[in-house]
């Protein structure tokens, strides 16, 4: 074999290695982007921290509904949510600057909603007992949260305490109680 042939073989081997490395990188990037392998961590704005699952079923249900509405790709598995790396593609206008912007505005509102009695299809979903106790203690310390108008109407909307208090948020979204009572 001549020197030129040997050089050609070495070049050819290097190119094969490079091609192999490129293919592995491409497969990794595609899998990392497309597959739902990124664990969703609920975000608590009050202390700028995340809350890991597994989560209460009601949180999974509402969080899944909200993610679906915005067009995020995800699966729910064993109490946790796993997201694809693909950006959201929903029918609604994309008003959030990425997942984190969405989470700042969503997770704590769902936690606040879990604190309310809600009736869906003749089933009443009561708030978790531990959360109710914590809310009572908060009100005993700081006075009642104004949830009523002057006419006595109940104000519907997120309870701002959940934005600031991560312990309240954890009590709402982490599993603790039976799921609800059927009337």
């Amino acid at each position: 074999m001549t020197a030129v042939q040997r050089a050609g073989r070495r070049r050819s081997r290097r190119l094969r290695w490079l091609l192999g490395a490129f293919c592995i990188l491409a497969v990794y990037l595609v899998a990392d982007t497309v597959l739902p392998i990124h664990r969703y961590r609920a975000y608590c704005p009050g202390s700028d921290t995340t809350i890991d699952g597994p989560y209460r079923e009601r949180f999974l249900w509402a969080a899944g509904e909200a993610l679906r509405r915005e067009g995020w790709y995800f699966v729910i598995y064993e109490g946790s949510i796993y997201l694809s790396g693909l950006p959201a593609r929903g029918r609604e206008p994309q008003l959030f600057r990425g997942l984190f912007d969405y989470q700042i505005n969503t997770d704590w509102k769902i936690a606040s909603a879990i604190a309310d009695n809600v009736e869906i299809d003749n089933t009443v979903f009561a708030p978790p007992a531990r959360l109710v106790q914590m809310l009572r203690e908060t009100e005993a310390k700081y006075g009642p949260f104004p949830k009523r108008t002057e006419k006595g109407e109940r104000i519907y909307g997120p309870d701002y305490r959940f934005y600031q208090d991560c312990e309240l948020m954890k009590a709402a979204i982490l599993p603790d109680e039976a799921f609800g009572a059927v009337r």
Binding site: D48, D101, D116, V118, Y156
Partner: protein, 240 residues
């Protein structure tokens, strides 16, 4: 940081270095015309920690604040008014009103900038870098003056249904939040060790910047036969 030490800081990060660092930053910002960023550092070094309250004219010099307000208005229109704010099914919204009924509703939206590093993949990381770079390039004075900050918009609304029309009235307040913006060089930000050194030497104090403006809002939406609400018109009346 009263009583703090230089524990964990290298000798080069003592107060002398910190004075040089912040002095150079001030001069650089002044030279580049980033007047709010420069005055932010001056207040940090000589303001005694006193709060700074931004008036409407000063807030208007920060396009990121106005952009955040616009974004939050869009979220009220697209989600709150239409009963699509996140929560549990079963939560009462304007979608549930019957003809002649009225209900009160509060909601909150937040637009934040220069966010902490996020979970996610390489695309998320790239998105954050691109977003921060864009904000810095297009609004350097705001970006450097406020660092990591957010504008919170809170609405107090009443919705009344008449036939298939929903009329929403209320007021929305916009403010730096929660509880203002703190000028304090968080861990992970450029200048963090220098800031701690200067504070330990009693030559700087973090302070809060507050701003608030309120505007009434009226909107009219139509209940669609197949379900849902569509916005027909909205009027936001900014009070200065």
């Amino acid at each position: 940081m009263a009583g703090g030490t230089y524990a964990g800081l290298r000798a080069s990060q003592g107060p002398e270095h910190a004075r040089t660092f912040f002095g150079a930053a001030e001069r650089l910002f002044d030279a580049l015309g980033l007047t709010d960023s420069a005055s932010g550092i001056r207040h940090y070094r000589g303001g005694g920690g006193a709060d700074v309250k931004l008036g409407p004219a000063e807030a208007a010099r920060h396009p990121l604040i106005e952009a955040a307000e616009r974004s939050n208005r869009a979220l009220f229109e697209t989600k709150t008014f239409r009963g699509l704010s996140p929560g549990l099914p079963g939560q009462r919204t304007f979608l549930d009103l019957k003809d002649g009924e009225e209900m009160a509703l509060d909601d909150y939206w937040n637009r934040s900038y220069n966010l902490r590093p996020q979970d996610g993949n390489w695309l998320t990381g790239l998105g954050k870098v691109a977003t921060d770079a864009w904000d810095l390039a297009t609004n350097p004075d705001s970006y450097l003056r406020f660092g990591r900050f957010g504008v919170e918009s809170r609405a107090k609304l009443i919705g009344r249904r008449a036939g298939n029309t929903l009329r929403v009235k209320g007021s929305v307040s916009h403010e730096l939040g929660p509880n203002g913006d703190r000028f304090d060089f968080n861990s992970g930000q450029i200048g963090h060790p220098e800031a701690r050194a200067l504070e330990s030497a009693g030559e700087a104090q973090p302070y809060r910047t507050t701003y608030r403006r309120e505007e009434p809002v009226e909107a009219e939406l139509i209940y669609q036969p197949g379900g849902g609400l569509t916005l027909r018109r909205s009027t936001w009346n900014l009070l200065r």
